[in-house]
Amino acid sequence: MKIRYFAWVRERVGVEAEEIELPAGVATLADLAAFLARRGENYAHAFENPRVVRAAIDRVHARPEAPIAGAREIAFFPPMTGG
């Protein structure tokens, strides 16, 4: 599964995108954020306040409880500040 990061989430993680093999038990966006947060200090920093980090599944906004099975691309990013 492809994971992408944007803005300060990208800066903290240190990469723009990566391919990740999902371990068993990672079923929702919240599960994935918690799994990523355990991968190292940079990830822990990016996901230190998981309620602030937003996500999209296949380029559509999704809630933390959304299931991720079958997704091709998941993105994590801060609240949007465009316009």
Binding site: A56, R59, V60, A75, F77, M80, T81, G82
Partner: protein, 157 residues
Amino acid sequence: MFTVRIQSAPFDAACEAAALSDGRQDVGALVTFTGLCRADDAAPEAGGRLVALTLEHYPGMAEEEIARHVEEARRRWPLMGATVIHRHGRIVPGEPIVLVVTASAHRGAAFAAAEFLMDWLKTSAPFWKQEEREAATGWVDAKAADDDAAGRWDPLP
């Protein structure tokens, strides 16, 4: 004509607006909103004068997310056309960032649709502003007021 464009180049708001009514006689209201990069003088301890904004975006999703809101605007109001342009990259004070043009037979629908599109652009289009100030660089925080503005539009049944 309904158009969504994400680009780094500046745009000409007057040309974009004219394109929605050229050659037709049924458009009675054309609303054009341009959002500009505004110079603001923060205190020295907050970084000082704004030098530029750099907008990062999620390619693909940015177009699709805005298009979803244009589709919703079309379900809410009788629009004859709409153009949304959002720039990315480095933008200095005085330059345009975002354009929303809506065309309808009457002004009520055109005004409302333009405001609806801007409210959702602020809170759901995947763009992130980074401020470059004289003495500091940092990401802009999202504003609760923008969430409130988007939240006042009742969901469609």
